[in-house]
Subunit: 221 residues, 2 copies
């Protein structure tokens, strides 16, 4: 088990995450955008990762994870999400500040550390953004959620997952005091700009943009 570099681990993690929306196939440019690197760098690295059998890469076509690459990606995700959980639950970080720190912590090499941390946290199944945390074997619960932008009028929902890509978005959630597990009912959808009116916990009435709604995922009650 050759240990991968932090850079290699990041590639596998992002290939996994970008592939989740599609059927596993990821384009060079999408990775380049995500990693904020030139497309040329990405091509370079994909060739290396392919040589090492972590990805299946076909020139000009796209890249996907091999079984081995998937395993590693999931373990990196596990570390990332456990650390985020620790940062919020124990160290009292707000969720808009944890991503960058977890990006570093996820590359600490020690199985014993992450297993002990998992136990310390009580084997949590979801991280502070509602993303599922893989267990030691790589299994995770797939949350059965829909995007708030696609949710129906009048129905009762629970906010159970938010995108963690943008600190600005998470800060915005802090500001409007919207939290995971809050009850949400859509009272109106504006056709013109897809703005959504909703009631939080049967109390507070707020208006959110289409952009915001696309970053939020809800569960039917």
């Amino acid at each position: 088990m050759t240990t991968l570099s932090a850079v290699e681990e990041n590639y596998l993690k992002y290939i996994f995450q970008l592939g989740e929306t599609q059927d596993g196939l990821v384009k060079t440019n999408d990775l380049a955008y995500k990693l904020d690197h030139s497309a040329a760098s990405v091509t370079d690295m994909l060739k290396k990762l392919s040589d090492k059998r972590f990805v299946a890469y076909k020139k000009y076509y796209g890249v996907s994870l091999t079984k081995l690459g998937l395993q590693i990606a999931v373990q990196v995700l596990r570390k990332h999400r456990l650390w985020e959980t620790f940062l919020v639950k124990n160290l009292k970080f707000t969720w808009d500040k944890i991503h960058d720190i977890a990006e570093q912590l996820e590359h600490i090499q020690s199985d014993e550390l992450i297993d002990k941390m998992d136990e310390y946290l009580g084997f949590p199944k979801f991280d502070p953004h509602g993303d599922p945390i893989p267990d030691k074997q790589g299994n995770m619960l797939i949350p059965n959620v829909i995007c708030l932008a696609d949710a129906k009028l009048k129905k009762q929902y629970i906010l159970s997952n938010v995108n963690d890509d943008s600190a600005a978005f998470l800060k915005y959630l802090n500001k409007i005091q919207l939290q995971l597990n809050d009850k949400i009912k859509i009272t109106d959808k504006e056709e013109f700009d897809e703005t959504i009116q909703l009631i939080i916990n049967d109390k507070k009435q707020i208006t959110i943009s289409k952009d915001a709604a696309q970053n939020m995922f809800v569960k039917v009650v």
Copy 2:
């Protein structure tokens, strides 16, 4: 405040630690040995660190930390020792396993993280090996200890500090069940090989080698 690389931080940390025994001046070869790098690499890096004003380096003579370099070294030490404390106190690691993990964790870049961790741990003054933990300002208590190898017969001591360089030594302490803050009285010193006989907590009688004694530091009761 340009952030330093993990490698640069390590150099400063080790220059600090090697300099503690001497008067701050560290030789190229000592660093090379500590870092397990060639002397040539060390010379290279010392020139770079000198250009960046972190160290005072004189060819063929030696290197010492500047005020700036010292500040950074102490903060790295702070991080290392706080993480070690967390690993032992919270995650229940044994002290022979924490060094390598803390070597990684000490380079995580986030002042907020380490300050919150400090608070979470209750602002500890010493780490699991009895080494003092610098506070946010870089101040630390200098423990008033003597080496067990130099301790006197019949006097009552308390084990308050052990060298953490060697996992083998720490494992050995686990095995003989000797712990920090144990009471120690020397009952005999063998002149021939400097072996020491001692009684732990007024109960257990054991014999330790000169080598072992040189890695242990005690406080007069």
